[in-house]
């Protein structure tokens, strides 16, 4: 009973930025239909089998052995063989479309999963790589190829509303095609256990109309804004040594251990979805990253004077 009622109860709550039941991509939509068909079939089979078992227990009539044997042949072999064959043909027929990694000659997204963030680079057909982190934006319409690898441990890249997941494995490059169908603000997560902050390895996903996407990509390709480069925050940033790990294009900071921060203020969330992207968010993370994200590589800067933290936080937030 519970099993039939729950989907109805759940219906209102199915929507959300991270719901496989609320698809915004071609692959997620295919899989949802498959799920609905299988769920209906599963409920029917469950009711039949369990109903039969309960009936068999309660009934006072007994079945002759020959008819009992027919039940075994019919229910135990014919029924599952037919059901499974249909399911297998129907399901596997979806695979070529789902496994299509998208065109190799268009825009490609290079994703490197790292404990506990996502290094993202857009490789344009002319060979440039535009670096960003923890935020994936995609154009609505075309299928975009994502190339996944890992810098440390096994992770798994999953945007439930767009498509199934794909593992990021050190030493390997896996490909995944993503095809958004509508403009939406979504969320992705790491689905393979990767260490203490596995729960905090989310990323924002924004699907945009192609023109808007192109404009965003051009903005990301640019160096940091001149106003930001002239700010005292820049000097504080460089003197604190942040450039050893982080890059801010347009400044001498060119570290590659941590995320590229050139446009960090423009992202939707901070530190893999842990904190809001505002000045207090930056300040909290700078002071004690491991409180918000256990096991993260970044050291804490609680030792800095409050004023310096404020300056840094304000400046980082201004990197739009």
């Amino acid at each position: 009973m519970l099993r039939t009622l729950l989907p109805i109860l759940c219906f209102a709550a199915c929507h959300g930025p991270r719901s496989a039941l609320d698809p915004a991509g071609a692959d997620a939509e295919r899989i949802l239909w498959l799920f609905v068909a299988m769920a209906v079939g599963a409920v029917a089979i469950w009711l039949f089998v369990v109903g039969l078992a309960v009936h068999a227990t309660l009934t006072q009539r007994t079945l002759e052995p020959a008819r009992a044997r027919n039940l075994v042949i019919g229910g135990g072999t014919l029924l599952p063989t037919v059901v499974l064959s249909v399911l297998l043909v129907g399901g596997l027929a979806q695979m070529p479309a789902l496994l299509d990694p998208g065109p190799a000659d268009g825009l490609r997204v290079l994703v490197s999963a790292e404990q506990f963030w996502w290094r993202i680079g857009y490789r344009t057909p002319d060979g440039r790589v535009i670096a960003t982190a923890n935020e994936l934006r995609l154009p609505v319409g075309p299928r975009t190829r994502v190339e996944l690898t890992s810098a440390d441990v096994v992770h798994s890249f999953w945007i439930p509303s767009l498509a199934g997941k794909m593992d990021a494995i050190p030493g390997r490059t896996n490909r995944l095609g993503l095809q958004p169908l509508r403009e939406a603000e979504l969320e992705g997560v790491c689905a393979e256990f990767c260490g203490p902050s596995h729960a905090h390895m989310g990323f924002a996903v924004v699907t945009l109309a192609p023109e808007a996407f192109e404009a965003w990509l051009q903005a990301q390709a640019a160096a940091a804004a001149p106003a930001a480069l002239a700010s005292p925050g820049r000097d504080r940033f460089l003197r604190t040594g942040c450039g050893a790990c982080h890059t801010v294009r347009g400044t001498p900071a060119d570290g590659v251990l941590g995320p590229d921060l050139t446009h960090v203020g423009s992202r939707r969330t901070l530190a893999g979805g842990v904190l809001p992207n505002d000045v207090p968010g930056f300040r909290a993370f700078l002071a004690d990253p491991r409180r918000h994200k256990p096991g993260v590589g970044m050291p804490g800067f609680a030792g800095l004077p409050d004023a310096d933290l404020d300056v840094l936080a304000t400046w980082l937030e201004s990197l739009q």
Binding site: L2, L6, A13, S19, A20, L21, D27, I31, L34, M38, A39, W46, V49, V50, L52, A53, A56, T57, L58, T59, T62, L63, E64, P65, L71, V72, G75, G76, T77, L79, T81, L84, L87, L88, G91, Q94, M95, L99, D152, V153, S156, W158, P160, G164, K165, M166, D167, I169, P170, G171, R172, N174, R175, A191, F193, G195, P196, H198, A199, P294
Partner: protein, 811 residues
Amino acid sequence: MTGPDLPADPEPLAEAPPAEVQRAQRRRLLDVWRTPTGWRYWSAVNNSVVGLWYTATAFVFFLFAGVLALAMRLQLAVPGNDLLTAEQYDQFFTMHGTIMMFLFAVPVFEAFSILVLPEMLGARDLPFPRLSAYGYWCYLIGGVFVCGSLFFGAAPNGGWFMYPPLVTRYSEGYGTEIWLLGLSFIEVASIAAAVELLVGILRCRPPGMRIHMIPLYAWYILVVAVMILFAFPPLIAGDLLMELETAFDWPFFDASRGGDPLLWQHLFWIFGHPEVYIVFLPSIALVATMVPTFAKTPMVGYTWVVLSAIGTGFVSFGLWVHHMFTTGLPGISLALFSAASQAIAIPTGVQIFCFVATLLAGRVQLAVPMLFVLGGLSTFVIGGLTGVMVALVPFDLQAHDTYFVVGHLHSVLIGGTIFPVVGAFYYFFPLVDGKHLSERLGRIAFWLMLVGFNVAFVPMHFTGLLGMQRRVYTYDPDTAVAALNLVSTGGAFVLAAGIAVFVVDVLRPKGRQPLSARNPWGAGGLEWLGEMPDQPWGVRSIPEIDGRYPLWDQPHLVRDVDEGRFYLPDAEEGLRETLLTSPVDATPDQVQRVAGPTFLTHLAALGTGGLFILSTFHLWVPAVISGVLGGVAVLVWLWTGTAHLPARDDKDVGLGLTLPTYVSGPSSVGWWAMLIAMLGDLTAYAGLVFGYFFYWTVDEGFPPLDQPDPTVRWALGAGALAATAWGGTWAAVHLNRADRGAAFHGALLGGVAAAGACCWVLVAGIDALGADPTAHVYPAIIWARVIWTVALLAVGVVMQLYARRAARRAG
């Protein structure tokens, strides 16, 4: 042996032996089989005692892992909770899975089987009682060690699947090695029990119980024991590789030096998927035992059930990749493994419909065990159907590693394992304790567990589809899953309350409660010959069997067995004896003397445990010393327990039958056990060879040009020496049979010398090349194979020298 060669179906003695003879027989049997008292109680090796300890210990581990689960559910009850830290949560979920799989699910079936299988087979004990005891003590020591690490905050924290490189290069502390070595140790115990059960089922059946009359329980255990033999060794090979990587930096799973993290995933799931069926089939075996009893009719489709169990066992080895659908494997592999994963639903469906048909064919008595059977069935079918869903690649791409899978696997394991096991407790309890568990408490426990389970786990399917991935210690407040998580936590506590009621029922004092009637459920199996309370001898006299349900088929069976009208009604020589029969037709062919109480098994287990546990902390010298002491304890145990020649060559076992008391070669149980153990060993070695070819397949640059390459001459030379060592042993066997003493000793020593030379060639040859196992995976995998081969040769040398010494003693 069929047709006219077989003696006519023997019948029990027409007249009961005189009462005073019966009394004397009972007294002598009791003297021989009596369980030691006082502190010596712990030296017992008899199946009824060891099986009881084993079952109780497994259940304690179950409750411990259950408490960990409740702590995790509390942490997840509300978003952003800080009851547990990330580190604690990671250790908890790792240990929950590890304990449930390695310390509960597999051991509890071995425990149950050690306890009841000999009774079902009308045997006095299993053929190697000390091996069971050794396995139990290994299990206890290893289990306490692995669980204990949690109290020092040092427990493994990389998940029960331990994927590298997270656990090899990105974790601190001893957790990884505790997991690897602690569990390898326990796996040794599991394999020991599998050998014991296999030989027990093949050779310890009562006369007349031909292969098509074996109780279904025994059929299932036969299948499962074979599965353990082929599933655990690849994991042990994987454990060895990972230990070498963790402790010595050999790069098996390090992509930067030619290794590949996916090799571990393959080796783990080649074990891990059959493991699911290793856990599930024995519980279905319990269902297959209970259903005919409560339907009061034989199982419909016995042959179908047996073939399905065998089919499930086979197919389960071809499914492991469905745990790896998202690792980027080629589409054709995915499709094949997807189809195979779906196909396993067919034998499972056959078994379920056979049970339902049996219920339909009879009038069902709805006692507590039957309630648990039905509850388990309804729950397991949920898991089976969601299993078909996740076996389909497209859907798995979404569901994999989410709470959907958590819901799925707990439906399978709680429905397929916990419900039948608890039902079996209610069913078998009178046989063990002489008293019934409470019908009322049983019903309360059942309903709490059924409702609690569904409230806890059915919502998880939606939690997963709403985007909650597995193994997260917390989640965002703004996600839609918070309400579902709170419901799941509530359900988990209701489930736990049901289990608590059951535990209270088991533990409550039953002093004034009357003894159960004999065969209280009116079952047809031999185990219900047991008196209330049961006697330690297992069976008063070993009956001749005419059908699948002897207590239903043979009207005077209980009387005839009790009055000693069958085989081996006495213990004239004061030795523990049971009857061995042929594997297929169960014709009696030997009287097996089985060993009695000892503390040597404890020493052997402590020594073996020391080897594994001290290695965890890299205390290599004490570890090796401990391992040697354990080995010596095993040798002393064999020397004092099995190397004696019997005083008499044969013995009158009753009903006019005289059987040998000592045999060698393929008709001895030792030969079978050795063969089975060697199959397991071969499988582990095949795991290492699989590793070599895996690198060769996935990496075009393997073997690398810049690494030293062993020569063909080296391989051929070592191979020739190993063949010579084998030839020496083979010759020694034949010379021994021909009674040519001097030539026998010469051949044996020649074999030992050749084995030693082979070890030297293997190690010196590869060492001279300068092959550095930390430089690249190629020298590392060759070194690993050399180490394994040398270890095997060393064991062979010890065996040859032991045989030589035993031959000397025999003269």
